[in-house]
């Protein structure tokens, strides 16, 4: 029973990731892709968590945390890039 639930949830997440990848490929605009990548990152968190359960280990909890942080930072960076044209504003010229 437990295993069935796990497989079903993994399959669902995989389908979701796959659809996100399609969105990533098709586009049509860059923000679409950025959002799909962000969601893909969150899906990765879910996949990692479920696989940790399958593998019966807690070695990957760090990975989950890191993925959360990175997805956030990455999305913010892309957003800032799209908004302002650069990620790190330097005030060297002023």
């Amino acid at each position: 029973m437990f295993e069935t639930v796990i497989i079903i949830s993994l399959a669902l997440i995989a389908i979701s990731s796959f659809l996100l990848i399609i969105r990533l490929i098709k586009g049509p605009s860059v923000p679409d892709r950025a959002v799909s990548l962000d969601a893909f990152g969150i899906n990765l968190i879910a996949i990692t968590a479920i696989i940790s359960v399958v593998l019966k280990t807690n070695a990957f909890l760090d990975v989950i945390l890191l993925l959360g942080i990175l997805a956030f930072i990455g999305t913010v960076a892309i957003a800032k890039f799209l908004e302002k044209g650069e990620i790190v504003e330097n005030d060297r010229d002023q």
């Binding site: 497989i7 990975v63 890039f81």
Partner: protein
């Protein structure tokens, strides 16, 4: 180191002090200091003749590289001694001559004498070495110092051209010769010439024999200016005249003759040697003398004359080899005798003629025979020397050239009586060509004397009023000319002292240990065919000389495009342009092309070697079962990869690449590698950010985004690389033979390393060195990025 070794090396040691003397004693002509050495050396070598029975040989060995069998073995036998005396004797005269020829004020005397001494030492080394490698070393030194001497007036274009040409040709020959020596070493296992001669039977039956012979002959022919390699010699006439007299008539060009004579005991038994040496020689004789007639520059006449005379000596050495096959060898050794005798004669008269030409050049300012004439009464001594030298060269009595010319005809006629190597049919060629060549020799000798010294004085064409040269300049040619006469009247002076021992070195197998040749040279043989041939030469030569203007058009028949010089020049140009075209063809400057080469080679080399060794094996029994997660993840990754490849915008490609990286980190999760997954995630995020940074800063012009163009070659190569790498990976996995060392780390990471995280223990403990240098790599990368951003030397002005 014995005295003999010091004698060979003395010129090099002396050369060190020449610049010092030049600087310290500016009032002294450096030549006076230099003159000491060849005179002392000449006396030293002379005492070999006088103090002991001259058939004795002297061998002194100094170890140089004994582990390779390379020793500096000095070996003085008849042949070596003859050459050593020529080198030091004519060397002394040339140095004396150069003191008066080269001006102390205008010329850089120290470089001249350093080069000259270098050459002298190298030449002594060539003729007195018993070890082939040492011989080769000195041989290249002669090429090198000759190059320096030809290019002595380096500000002249023609000097540089001549120097380069002679360097290329003689070094080509020298390298061939080295190849021949190595082949000889392979056959016999020794570098010593004497030991090689002792094993002559092994060599004669060896497969490599013919190659060694051809390679060594190439070395001899290039150095001795034989056809078709003679072309460097006329261009070497740009050197100062003492150099021409010394190197390009008396010594260096005879190094090839020496080589042929020295290796005669090894190769002379074969028909190939007989025919190649004598035919190349006889043709060079004809071609050199034929071309000498058309020259208008005195030195060019002498250059072609040298070519021709060297051809004569060479052909005599070839013909002399036939004596080895006969019982009554005395009858045929006359050719070898003539070769050695003419070698000495040629050194005397050609040296004096070059000095005469130098005097004329010095006193009138030109060497062009069209501008010269009527110098007889103005320069009587020079004229006398020139007549003696030229008549001896033409082969007229009572000079020594007559004797050697007679013997030359004798030996060529005796070829007709040989009954081997098809000499009875083809041998006919030799005396005929020899005779025609001698007619032209007579002709150019007469041109040399009469066009220069008789006729009308053309004052308006000369730069200065000609007058007799200073006495110091005249002494060396006078000495040489007197030797011409002395050897003409008393040839037996040479016979017992020099010629017999030299013949014994060239043809050692004919005699028992204590025997020696009996040589007796006479002026008068009676009414022999040779005498009538000489009379014919004189008659026809005189007729041709008187009618020279009428038939000189013959020389226009050979078109300019078909000469060997044109061939040499155009082949140099062709070599240059074709290699640069070839380089331009594949060095396109595009990284894309180079990557194509690299990957194509990767595919071909790996694929071919794996296939030829039968190393491809697709054994799946050792692979782990494939789970559903891996399949899904792989599909996601493939989708990401394909997106990267076929995306139309760069941004899409970067993001898709990011998704591939994240999927990879998921693979690490799946395959239980938490540390890798962590690192991969961070690195992937950072590098995507860097990609975005790079993407944004693309220059405006090229920013127009384009779909990747499809290229068939690239497609094939990328497919090939993928397939090859995959196949190799699978093969490597299925062929795995030994156990992994992982169990050691599993057992010991806590026991020895004190850590439960095995990956980290390996990184910092078991394999800490790798980590240290990876840290270094990151440090260097960081510093490099910083300096690339900060340091903008070339664009500072732009701000």
């Amino acid at each position: 180191m014995t005295l003999l070794h010091w004698a060979i090396l003395a010129p090099f040691l002396f050369a060190i002090f020449v610049p010092l003397v030049y600087k310290v004693f500016p009032k002294l002509h450096t030549g006076w200091f230099v003159l000491l050495l060849p005179v002392v050396l000449f006396l030293y070598f002379l005492q070999f003749l006088l103090n002991r029975t001259h058939y004795e040989t002297v061998i002194e060995t100094v170890e140089w590289i004994p582990s390779l069998g390379i020793n500096f073995t000095a070996y003085v036998d008849g042949l070596g001694l003859l050459f050593a005396l020529l080198i030091t004797g004519i060397g002394s005269l040339v140095v004396l001559y150069s003191i008066y020829y080269l001006s102390k004020e205008k010329e850089q005397l120290h470089t001249f004498y350093v080069y000259l001494l270098m050459f002298m030492g190298a030449m002594l080394g060539v003729v007195l070495s018993d070890n082939t490698i040492v011989l080769y070393t000195f041989w290249e030194l002669t090429s090198f110092s000759s190059f320096l001497l030809i290019g002595y007036w380096y500000h002249r274009e023609k000097s540089r051209y001549g120097a380069q040409k002679s360097m290329l040709i003689t070094v080509f020959g020298g390298l061939s010769m080295l190849g021949g020596f190595i082949l000889l070493y392979l056959m016999t296992g020794t570098f010593s010439i004497r030991e090689t001669i002792a094993q002559v039977d092994t060599i004669l039956s060896h497969d490599l024999f013919i190659f060694a012979m051809i390679l060594i002959l190439l070395g001899a022919f290039t150095k001795s200016a034989q056809f078709p390699f003679y072309i460097w010699l006329p261009d070497a006439m740009e050197a100062p005249t003492p150099v021409s007299a010394y190197l390009h008539s008396a010594t260096m060009v005879k190094a090839g003759i020496y080589l042929v004579a020295r290796f005669s005991p090894i190769f002379a038994f074969s028909a190939e040697w007989f025919w190649s040496v004598s035919l190349f020689g006889i043709f060079t004789l004809f071609w050199g003398s034929f071309n000498a007639v058309k020259q208008t520059d005195l030195k060019a006449i002498l250059a072609f004359s040298t070519v021709s005379q060297l051809g004569m000596i060479m052909s005599l050495l070839g013909v002399g080899a036939a004596a080895l096959h006969y019982q009554n060898f005395e009858y045929y050794t006359v050719a070898t005798l003539a070769a050695i005798f003419h070698l000495i004669n040629h050194a005397t008269f050609k040296g004096s003629l070059f000095m005469v030409v130098g005097i004329i050049d010095h006193e009138t300012g030109t060497r062009d025979i069209r501008k010269l004439g009527g110098l007889m009464s103005l320069m009587p001594i020079t004229f006398t020397i020139a007549v003696i030298g030229a008549f001896s060269m033409a082969g007229l009595p009572p000079f020594n050239g007559f004797l050697s010319k007679e013997m030359f005809f004798t030996s060529m006629l005796r070829v007709l009586e040989m009954n081997m190597f098809q000499a009875d049919t083809w041998g006919m060629l030799l005396p005929i060509i020899a005779w025609i060549g001698s007619v032209f020799t007579f002709l150019y000798s007469m041109v040399l004397v009469f066009k220069t010294f008789t006729g009308k004085l053309q004052k308006e064409k000369l730069e200065k009023m000609p007058h007799e040269a200073p006495i110091g300049m005249l002494i060396p040619p006078i000495v040489l000319a007197s030797l011409v006469v002395i050897f003409g009247f008393f040839p037996d002076l040479l016979a017992y002292t020099l010629i017999e021992p030299a013949m014994k070195s060239i043809l050692p197998s004919l005699l028992a240990e204590s025997e020696h040749f009996h040589v007796h040279i006479e002026m008068w043989h009676g009414f022999t065919p040779e005498l009538f041939m000489t009379i014919g030469v004189v008659l026809l030569g005189t007729i041709l000389f008187l009618t020279l203007t009428k038939w000189k058009k013959v020389y226009g028949l050979q078109p300019e495009k078909l000469t060997l010089n044109t061939f040499y020049d155009s082949s140099l140009v062709a070599l240059d342009s074709s290699s640069s075209r070839f380089t331009k063809f594949y060095m396109t400057g595009f990284i894309r092309d180079y990557l194509v080469y690299i990957f194509a080679f990767l595919i071909v080399m790996l694929g071919a070697s794996m296939a030829s060794l039968g190393a491809f094996s697709l054994d799946v029994s050792k692979t782990a079962p494939v789970g559903i997660y891996e399949v899904i993840l792989a599909l996601v990754m493939i989708a990401g990869t394909l997106t990267t490849l076929f995306s139309t915008s760069r941004l899409t490609a970067i993001i898709a690449l990011g998704s591939v990286g994240y999927s990879l980190s998921l693979f690490f999760v799946l395959f239980r590698a938490p540390d890798l997954a962590l690192t991969q995630l961070i690195i992937e995020t950072v590098s995507v950010a860097l990609f975005l940074l790079a993407f944004y800063h693309l220059p405006e012009l090229k920013r127009r985004e384009q779909k990747l163009r499809f290229r068939l070659v690239n497609f094939i190569i990328s497919l090939g690389v993928g397939v090859i790498v995959t196949l190799i990976a699978i093969s490597a996995n299925s062929e795995r033979v030994s156990e992994t060392i992982a169990s050691y780390f599993i057992e010991n990471s806590y026991k020895l390393g004190g850590g439960k995280n095995m990956v980290n223990v390996i990184l910092v403990d078991f394999r800490g060195f790798d980590t240290m240098f990876e840290i270094t790599v990151l440090g260097i990368a960081a510093l490099a990025i910083y300096s690339m951003i900060k340091l903008r030397l070339s664009r500072r002005e732009e701000g």
